[in-house]
């Protein structure tokens, strides 16, 4: 493994699709990470002024893919945490989202379904429903799913890593 002694500009310019220096540096680190996990793949970034979406694309079937995502996406979340730190250190305040094999998209639809089901239950029983602990990314999806719901509202309670969402029926 080569030491990172090169100038950021050099890294950023070394490959195509690298808009900014901060993103180039992040991609390079993630490339090394997936290689070490045993995945032959590509790391690409799609960025706008607010977010940087990094997609890890593996070449075909790969038994190591499960490792990359981890249980409930914990490895992907860990990679995302580090990616956010690296970007912020470069003075880039945008938020990074890391995805592989459309895991996030699949997870998002599952979370939305959980949210809707909890809302239905809260409305039906007239009592609040407490969801299992979730990380901040997952909670955000649930909050957003229900923020326009006329019959329920959501609140987070407890401390990380056991912070949970409560789905509460609105008084009619």
């Amino acid at each position: 493994m080569d030491d990172d002694k090169r100038e950021p500009e050099e890294i950023a310019g070394s490959q195509s699709h690298r808009g900014s220096v901060s993103v180039g540096k992040t991609i390079r680190l993630l490339e090394a990470v997936i290689k070490q996990i045993g995945i032959d793949g590509k790391v690409e970034a799609f960025e706008d002024s607010e977010i940087v979406k990094i997609v890890i694309d593996s070449n075909g079937e790969n038994p190591a893919l499960g490792l990359l995502i981890g249980k409930h996406g914990e490895t992907l979340d860990a990679i995302q945490t580090i990616a956010n730190v690296v970007l912020r250190r470069e003075g880039d305040k945008r938020k990074v989202f890391v995805d592989a094999e459309q895991y996030r998209k699949r997870r998002e639809s599952i979370l939305r379904e959980i949210a809707e089901r909890a809302a239905e239950k809260a409305i039906h029983t007239g009592r609040s429903v407490l969801l299992r602990p979730m990380n901040s990314y997952d909670r955000r999806i649930v909050h957003l799913e229900l923020c326009n719901n006329k019959s329920v509202y959501t609140e987070s309670e407890g401390e990380e890593p056991n912070r949970k969402i409560r789905v509460i029926p609105k008084e009619q």
Partner: protein
């Protein structure tokens, strides 16, 4: 794995030259000892250990192919 830990640590500290990783390898497990500059300890641990946890999770994923249990210790 050792290189990966070194690389992750170097990417998030202010004094990458001070990053050192030593490995103690047993039959079934590897202990990786990470030491960084005292000024950078907080950076590799993070609020409520978030960064340390993320580093451990990534290292664990990379250790699966070697079939060994890996423990990451942060030394101060």
């Amino acid at each position: 794995m050792k290189e990966l830990l070194e690389m992750l640590a170097k990417a998030i500290v202010d004094e990458p030259d001070q990053v050192k990783v030593s490995a103690v390898e047993g039959e079934k497990s590897i202990i990786l000892q990470l030491s960084v500059s005292p000024n950078d300890i907080g950076k590799v641990i993070g609020k409520q250990g978030r960064i340390a946890k993320a580093i451990r999770t990534i290292i664990k994923a990379s250790a699966v192919k070697e079939g060994k249990k890996v423990i990451v210790e942060i030394i101060d």
